[in-house]
Subunit: 517 residues, 2 copies
């Protein structure tokens, strides 16, 4: 067994059996080792940001990390934007980066660079393996680090010689159980007392309870009983929503709306979250959203036991016997005519199959997508968490690998899609069951919106041209077909509905360019 | 004048009048400031790696830096692979990265990250501007740092408030002249003495003399007179070649060939280069290419005056009156039949117009492309210098912006093209005169080649599948059309010749998918 085989062995032993890979020469022994273990599935990506975005989507749905395989510093850089998003989503990833052989590094060959320095930007744990014999133990440590609550990126740098040299089979070590510390009763009682006062209070939520229907119901019970409002972070790794679930609104993106939402609050109770802040700064507006006299209380830190805390609190405030308000499904109207974000989302909501996974990189159109799907069939909703655009198509790709029996629907803005369109090829190669709707407004609409927020009232022609994607317009049908994915264009709600009707009946990737009017 | 306008003003005052941009919200004041100065041209890119690869190609042809405009840490990460290549090419770039407003940073908003830490990976100079008043001076310092010989990347981080706040007009500072230290006569005499001994000697060359026809001729004169061999680095930022130029071979990429090329050498004379090393390490093979008893002498460091050193040396060895051996043009045979790398390159060579700029990211097929174009009309040859694939299409884009009167021809491997295909959209938007030939072997052929070099003789089916790009095949005609670039497919040399004949007659971007047999 060589070091690379020891690595694959250690991953599979820890139930990490999917690797999103964009390998190069220094990773060839790892690639060869894929065949040494029948359980390891390697998914080829044509760009590294696809690999890391897919690993993020995979872990959000599988509840366990995937591995990645990247080629030295430049491969890691290409992977970085979606590692940033994964870091913000608290997604566990075992991020494997090949490097030159140990005794080659000092030669400063053309591809050499400071991989560890780069990796630290996004990783909670970074280690360069020193020998083939160390691979198994280092892999174990990387997995442990990635899995530790609340989840993070562990980067293992693998010099080529540590992969190709013989490794002495090592004793398999057990993993520390992936438990999280319980929240002490005293803290729960303190928070319950605050809630019982009935003063204006917001419970601000981030993390895994949003992916848990029972926890969402408990949040609603507490809100009913105490009058507190409950808000999720503006964007979230995964939210269970739709018919039969308790619905939780997200805190607004726009600073003026955020300030309005927080106005008058006396208490903010944090469940896995930090206090709400502006996504960007604007001249003359504050970055902190809470009023200065609002007291901030921590119900649970990100790494603590959110469910225990929540259900404990629910009982303490006497809310656990209340009937949670669950969303009634059905009654979805049919949209007609010209496509807007709203009519598009209405149409998609009506066609959304039960148990679908929805990825949302709709940016300025995300609000409409979320609103119109509130009463759709129950589904999981995965969002852009770190603001680094170019996650949507990879996220859908990884989610589809993790959940092969669930339809994946991607609400995808066109500008953002252009960053990582190579994900479509992986969808075709793996025949993944993803329907992508490109919301083609042919603009960086977010930039126009933000120009106005920033007080740039009358941008000149050069500035405006920096926000235009219509000279030329991207032809998403051809781009998808070029990547091997069947595609069609819709310009009305009726056309979109027809295309979705057939796309939802078949399996495999399909892309719809929805040209907004 | 606000800080952003002060930045644009300082750039234009230093004759930096092209900016390759992929802006976001925090850069909106810079974007608005584009209209404040008619001389500044902003070229929109749909992915940051396109912006930095284009800035590299631009500077290689313009002989001066371009600016870039990137959006926070994730934008910089996406830009990183081509910054790595630019760093290895010693290309000057003024790399501008927007950041959150100064008083917003501590809030750890979703897009916040360690931009300076990331930037240091690729930059010789990094500074975060502290106020709008500091922008002009910081920009001046960044430009000075980027231009300092031999050229490097200077990263200026621009917090949003430093862009939007009012800036006091500052006194315009002069730039230190961009001179490089002369090589002392004593060193030239020492090197001349070594050359006169007639022992086996290689002059190993990197950098700007390769882009200077007179310097290439001087190198040939020295070789004729002294019997030394002259080799360029394996890949180079820019080489002038073709009919009427002295031709210089590159040091081989393959380690076994490199060792053979260096066998028996007693002296290696470095002109702007460091000694040749293996691009990758291989089990049982050395990383240093020179024999252990080969003495290494430095003729000129990268930042010293290469031309003065070279012409001085040429005189000292008495070679300056010799007739340099210049390549005879013409006599190019027509290829026929099935497309191979060789027949493709023969066909392109015959159609190459005088003064063309050729970008070479042909990877395993680069050798054939170089060999077959040796006697083509005189042209500039730009290569992948840092091994981070995905530079070719951006490099051609930037070269075309810098040299609008010269045809740009891109020899582009298909696997590498997939990393940054968004460059095609910028070519369409700017109507750049680029003809791209996709060498479609539908394989990561370099990986198969390297597997064999690494002793992986019989890779299993999963390993082989990681090198295949034919399931599905990328359809480059559709991909190009999707990006707004006219395209066609060739499967024989005759078809390629027909397409090239018409492509060379027209202006504007055109892509040919050359399907290799």
């Amino acid at each position: 067994m060589n070091g690379a085989e020891a690595l694959v062995d250690a991953l599979v032993a820890a139930d990490i059996d999917v690797c999103f890979a964009n390998p190069g020469t220094s990773e060839m022994h790892f690639v060869a080792a894929l065949d040494s273990n029948p359980r390891m599935r390697s998914v080829l990506c044509l760009f590294e940001g696809v690999a890391t975005g897919a690993a993020d989507g995979y872990a959000r749905m599988a509840g366990k990390p995937a591995a990645t395989l990247l080629h030295l510093g430049p491969g890691l850089a290409n992977a970085g934007a979606n590692l940033h998003n994964a870091k913000r989503a608290l997604t566990p990833i075992v991020n494997i980066v090949g490097d030159h052989a140990t005794d080659h590094l000092h030669l400063d060959a053309p591809l050499a660079s400071d991989i560890e320095g780069l990796a630290r930007t996004w990783s909670s744990w970074v280690r360069t393996t020193k020998s083939a014999d160390a691979v198994a133990g280092d892999t174990h440590a990387a997995i442990q680090a990635a899995r530790a609550m609340p989840g993070s990126i562990a980067t293992l740098v693998l010099p080529a010689d540590c992969a190709w040299n013989d490794a002495t089979p090592s004793q398999r070590r057990p993993f520390v159980a992936q438990s999280c510390p319980v929240v002490p009763d005293e803290r729960l009682r303190d928070i319950a007392e605050i809630l019982k006062r009935g003063e204006p209070t917001m419970i601000f939520v981030e993390g895994r309870v949003l992916a848990d229907a029972a926890a969402l119901a408990a949040l609603d019970q507490i809100a009913q009983k105490t009058g507190a409002i409950v808000r999720a972070k503006t964007t979230n790794a995964r939210v269970e929503r739709g018919a039969g679930r308790a619905s939780i609104d997200a805190f607004p993106y726009a600073v003026t709306q955020g300030l309005a939402a927080a106005a008058g609050l006396r208490h903010c109770i944090l469940l896995g979250a930090t206090q709400p802040v502006g996504f960007f700064a604007y001249p003359g507006l504050p970055g902190l959203m809470l009023p200065s006299d609002c007291a901030i209380h921590t119900l649970a830190l990100p790494e603590e036991d959110h469910e225990q805390a929540l259900h404990g609190l629910c009982s303490l405030v006497g809310a656990d016997k209340l009937q949670p308000r669950l969303v009634e499904g059905g009654g979805l109207e049919k949209a007609t005519g010209v496509l807007t974000a709203q009519s598009l989302a209405m149409t998609a909501a009506a066609r959304l199959p039960e148990g679908a996974v929805v990825t949302d990189e709709a940016i300025t159109m995300a609000g409409a997508c979320r609103t119109m799907t509130t009463r759709a069939a129950p589904h999981s909703w995965l969002q852009l968490t770190g603001g680094a655009i170019g996650i949507g198509l990879p996220l859908a790709t990884g989610a589809a690998v993790a959940a092969p029996d669930r339809k994946v629907l991607a609400f995808q803005a066109d500008g953002s899609a252009a960053y990582t369109l190579q994900a479509l090829w992986t969808q075709a190669r793996e025949n993944l069951d993803v329907v992508t709707i490109i919301l083609a407004n042919r603009t960086y609409a977010i930039l126009r919106y933000e120009m106005s927020n920033l007080g740039i009232g009358n941008p000149g022609p050069k500035a405006v041209s920096m926000t235009r994607l219509d000279q030329p317009a991207l032809d998403w049908v051809r781009l998808a077909e070029g990547m091997g994915v069947e595609a069609a264009r819709a310009t009305t709600a009726e056309e979109l509905d027809d295309l979705l009707a057939s796309a939802m009946k078949r399996r495999g990737p399909f892309l719809i360019e929805a040209v907004l009017g």
